[in-house]
């Protein structure tokens, strides 16, 4: 794709994000769009958010479970950028009015205390470079109509990132069995689903290592202090006004989040 078209697609996504409306899938309108193009569109979309005053605070990893990979026919994860405008503090209520077609995912978040510069990063390096881990919710959202996404559309749309919140419990990865730590997700007090860390690439640390290596190859910085959402351990949960979700990770603790308002779609 031409640089012009890439910029135009990134701008379309940014405008849809600001205006809270959806677009027809980009890959449908531009069949020639490659995965590399999609990441360049994402770069543009994020550059627009940064020039509007936001800053990069971390990364999210998507397409980490076998089920989602089979669904999209893609056998590696993808990533998006976390920006300052996406952050909710533990205990804050998520405002659905600011979102289009949100769904929640329960994840393990990593916060780095050292830069991770791939390639050549292993899961052991990730643990070594981790300040702490925390249970979290990512509220994914899509600027693509009815979530009709393939891998190229979701990558261009910043890996369908919406907002996120980290629980206020922190764990040291040296104290937690990252692969076997169970995850219990409840919606309004009722059990919704369970999983464990291994559902994400065998271990969430493997997903973060993949990210470090991918970013290193692309020349994108991955720095101390960044937050990494390591990939969904749950099925997507639809949320509406008044809903409360909790996710509890075995040996770590709970992230609780409440929702209010009404999303656009």
């Amino acid at each position: 794709m031409s640089a012009d078209l890439i910029a135009r697609c990134g701008d379309e996504l940014y405008d849809a994000f600001v205006g809270r409306y959806t677009l027809a899938p980009l890959a449908e309108r531009h069949p020639e769009l490659t995965l590399e193009d999609a990441y360049r569109i994402q770069e543009r979309f994020i550059a627009r958010r940064v020039s509007a005053g936001e800053s990069i605070v971390g990364k999210k990893i998507g397409v980490t479970s076998k089920a989602v990979q089979n669904l999209l026919g893609v056998y590696q994860p993808d990533f998006g950028q976390l920006t300052s405008g996406m952050v909710y503090q533990a205990g804050e209520t998520i405002d659905l009015n600011a979102l289009i077609q949100p769904k929640a995912e329960a994840e393990l978040a990593f916060v780095l205390k050292r830069d991770l510069k791939g390639p050549g990063i292993t899961a052991m390096d990730v643990i070594h470079a981790t300040d702490y881990v925390a249970p979290c919710f990512e509220i994914v959202d899509s600027r693509i109509r009815n979530w009709k996404i393939g891998i190229r559309d979701t990558v261009a749309d910043n890996a369908s990132c919406g907002v996120y919140v980290l629980g206020d419990v922190r764990g040291d990865p040296r104290d937690i069995d990252l692969a076997l730590a169970g995850m219990v997700l409840k919606k309004n007090g009722e059990l919704f689903s369970t999983a464990c860390g291994a559902a994400v690439q065998g271990s969430p640390a493997n997903a973060v290592a993949w990210l470090a290596n991918t970013l290193g190859t692309l020349g994108i910085p991955f720095l101390a202090g960044e937050v990494i959402l390591s990939g969904s351990q749950s099925a997507l949960v639809s949320v509406v006004d008044g809903d409360v979700l909790t996710c509890t990770i075995g040996g770590l603790g709970t992230c609780r989040v409440a929702f209010s308002g009404k999303s656009a779609a």
Binding site: D177, L180, G182, M183, L191, G250
Partner: protein, 265 residues
């Protein structure tokens, strides 16, 4: 108890199920011949089956809970789990070869097993009673095998077929319940080196001890109780996965170690 079948019919069905279990052949659902059969009729057949095995010298060592996930209960239209009895003949040691000879269509499930230190009896047995009476918990693999063609069954038939009980393997690391947060224990089921199922123990009624409490209350309805020293399988945490000779299965549990078996002819 609403047993509707006469003694002759119960004997007929008991012999039919015993024949299928002993010789490893599939039979049609019992409800095809007795459409009005009740769940209590199913338990009457199961009790007669238990009496036959015990008369042959098999030793009753405990019980199993089945249909312990909400999804399965809704699917079967019931609001309580089902139970079955366990004998010494069904036990296999961990880390060994387990023959599938005599099984029809075996499947494996990951479960938390309880060994009791005190007698438990219903009615009104609670999860707290179960935890107070527990000596230790340990990880287990249950090998279930429905004797009904195509694994198609209704609750009445499956209860008569002893809750599809076939074999079980306990192992791993025994733990005191006070040292664990049972609901958030994560579990991974691997077959031939591939991770196939990811869950947390809360998948069993929110807490595996809830399933044991329900089991004790069902035992009361059957005129039985759970003596100290009993072994109880609390219900599948993961979905049931088919196995055949040559398959290696490993169940890994957070904080409880792992249990493995290799299936042979």
């Amino acid at each position: 108890m609403t047993v509707t079948l006469n003694a002759e019919a119960i004997t007929r069905l008991t012999e039919r199920v015993e024949g299928a279990q002993t010789r490893g052949h599939a039979i049609p659902r019992l409800t095809e011949e007795y459409p009005a059969m009740t769940i209590d009729d199913g338990y009457a057949v199961q009790s007669a089956l238990r009496a036959r095995y015990l008369a042959k010298g098999h030793k009753l060592i405990g019980w199993k809970a089945g249909l312990t996930s909400k999804a399965k209960m809704i699917q079967m239209g019931v609001d309580v789990p089902s139970i079955g009895f366990l004998t010494d003949r069904m036990a296999r040691p961990e880390g060994t070869e387990v023959s599938v000879k005599g099984l029809i269509h075996p499947r494996v499930e990951c479960e938390v097993a309880f060994v009791t230190a005190k007698n438990l009896s219903g009615p009104g047995c609670t999860a707290a009673d179960v935890l107070a009476a527990t000596d230790f918990v340990l990880p287990a693999i249950e090998i279930i095998d429905s004797r009904f063609s195509g694994f198609k069954f209704d609750l009445e038939s499956v209860v008569a077929d002893n809750g599809s009980a076939a074999l079980f393997v306990g192992g791993g690391r025994p733990r005191r319940v006070a040292d664990l947060d049972l609901p958030t224990i994560g579990v991974v089921m691997e077959k031939n080196g591939e991770m196939l199922a990811f869950a947390a123990a809360a998948a069993v009624l929110g807490h595996p001890a809830e399933a044991v409490a329900m089991l004790v209350n069902i035992l009361h309805d059957l005129g039985e109780s759970l003596p100290a020293g009993s072994f109880v399988l609390s219900g599948g945490i993961t979905e049931a996965i088919p196995v055949k000779p040559g398959d290696n299965v490993i169940a890994r549990y957070q904080g409880l170690g792992s249990v493995s078996v290799r299936f042979v002819d």
